[in-house]
Amino acid sequence: MDLFFDTLFNGMAIGSVLVLAALGLAVVFGLMGVINMAHGELMMIGAYTTFVVQNLVKNGPLEFLFPIYILVAIPIAFLVSGLVGLLLEKTVIRRLYGRPLETLLATWGVSLILQQFVRSVSTAFALGLVLAVAVGLLVPRLLPARWGRQRWAPLLDLGRWLLAALLGIGLASLLGGVRVLDQPWFSARNIDVTAPRWLRGSIDLGALNMPVARLFILALTALALLAVVWFLQKSVWGMRIRAVTQNRAMSDCLGIPTERVDALTFLVGSGLAGVAGVAVTLLGSVGPNLGGNYIVDCFMVVVLGGVGKLLGTVVAALGIGILSYVIGSGSLLLVWPAMPSALNALVSFFATTSMAKVLVFALIVLFLQFRPAGLFPQKGRMVEA
């Protein structure tokens, strides 16, 4: 019995991180059908936001906030990741709706840019970037409006972004001469977030040992899930989102501002990735490559659960979590010690984290051969563009 609860808790602990990580993707990919390869990097941004919040709070006048800085970091990470996602939607994804392959490539490119960004960003770099964007966006306002309507207007656009890039690079390298400004904010090394004391340690329940951080993530996941369900089912914007995902053209004809719905959906999905990023910092040190570790798992969870179904996402993530733990810990051997030696060898062969992952993915692939629409397929007439 202890073994059962032990497996259940540890599996749920692995699964709840997956739920949280995949929840945002379930919104973005499941509801909007956008393949966002940069979703993992939005998590990474959430993790770095937590790090920044921690450092701001740790040594300074706000030190009294340190015990609850994680709670403060959650909404901030939601906002930061959400706004980065919104920017991504407005600049890149907006132009690629209905073209999944291009979306995949473009967002993958964005994910690489974001990874390198956190590695190399310094004050000089950031100021140069701000200058470049400001110049690029402001130049057209300063030029006569009729220039924009000329046949050579695209050349003008190219020219202004070239000018903006040159100015930005110029400023960055100029300021880069100053040691203080050239210091990278994070560098390529992993960062560590120190959990406040109440999140360390564990609670013992009989033979079961439950780390508090894991319990916190479980609670956070449950809360995030409730919030998303409430938002989609009860709020006005949630209803608009559901209408647009089911019938975009008709929703438009009814007076729903579809572009704003898209932007908001993307913001919420990205923000959830940020919250997942906060949770991940509690599990160990995080680095610029954090996203890569989660993105495949997230897509697996959403596809396995059935695209567009939140319940499917939850069940799939918890299922994968429990399965990973059962295989990875080799606890089958404890249940059945007198296993034939061939089977015993097989079980112990897969009893490592990475081999367990291989087996779980193989099982998922096998499952999808028989149920291509996942655990909870959409029933009835599907309205899919």
């Binding site: 929703s251 004809c253 009814l254 007439r381």
Partner: protein, 240 residues
């Protein structure tokens, strides 16, 4: 027809293309306040295309669409809906996974302030279509074709449009419901004074309209009061 009055809808010189094929050719048409105008013509002459261009799902290559003397031809559909165009498309386009109540609530989006400010479903739509009140909690996609049609009309009405676009509201619907719908549309016009632009094949329904435009090969070829619809015109444009 008088032109001194402000037309609810004024279309002039409208040309619409699907890719390179020319669908609507120099269409001129107007709908006066409180008037019910019917578009007739055989399949594939561009009637549905015309309605889609009025609501904004399709963009014209040239020409203008004016709603109450406001040029709307460059606005997206949701801005036109908020400007006072209610659209009941062919095939109804009910949001399938949303309940009947939610589908009706979406009709309120066209009102000023949208759903954020308006949560009240005017019971008048239940007077017109009592079946909707019984099925409020059902999913829209589970209704029959006739019920979905009634839902689509009710949904459009809740936005209090000045112009209602109805695309073949009686297509594929059992005769008893057709009569219900006809009666409801007539009653809507008489009580609210809104204008209706209707695409219809049933002669009985066509006769309820005040004015007709007959289309052929993407252009308007004849128009007049429906009272003057001669047998020759009907045979030429209405038989499917």
């Amino acid at each position: 027809m008088t032109t001194s009055q402000t037309a609810t809808l004024q279309i002039s010189g409208l040309n619409v293309f699907y890719g390179e094929s020319h669908i609507l050719r120099d269409v001129d048409l107007s709908v006066q306040p409180g008037q019910m105008v019917c578009l007739i013509g055989r399949n594939g002459v561009g009637k549905t295309t015309l309605l889609k261009t009025v609501i904004g799902l399709l963009r014209q290559r040239s020409g203008s669409v004016q709603l109450l003397e406001q040029e709307v031809s460059s606005l997206p559909p949701h801005r036109r809906a908020r400007g006072g165009i209610g659209y009941v498309p062919q095939g109804r386009e009910i949001i399938p996974q949303l309940s009947v109540r939610e589908n009706l609530l979406l009709g309120l989006e066209a009102l000023p302030g949208g759903l954020g400010r308006n949560r009240h479903i005017d019971p008048v739509v239940f007077e017109l279509f009592p079946i909707l009140e019984t099925f409020l909690a059902r999913r829209g996609g589970d209704l029959s074709g006739g019920q979905q049609q009634q839902l689509a009309i009710a949904r459009a009405l809740l936005g209090k449009p000045k112009l209602l676009l109805l695309d073949e509201p009686t297509e594929g619907i059992q005769p008893s419901v057709v009569l219900d719908i006809e009666r409801a549309v007539r009653r809507i016009i008489d009580t609210t004074g809104i204008s209706v632009l209707l695409v219809e094949q049933h002669l009985h329904f066509v006769r309820q309209a005040d004015w007709y435009y007959a289309m052929q090969k993407g252009g308007v070829v004849a128009s007049g009061p429906t009272g003057e619809l001669s047998k020759a015109v009907v045979d030429r444009f209405l038989s499917v």
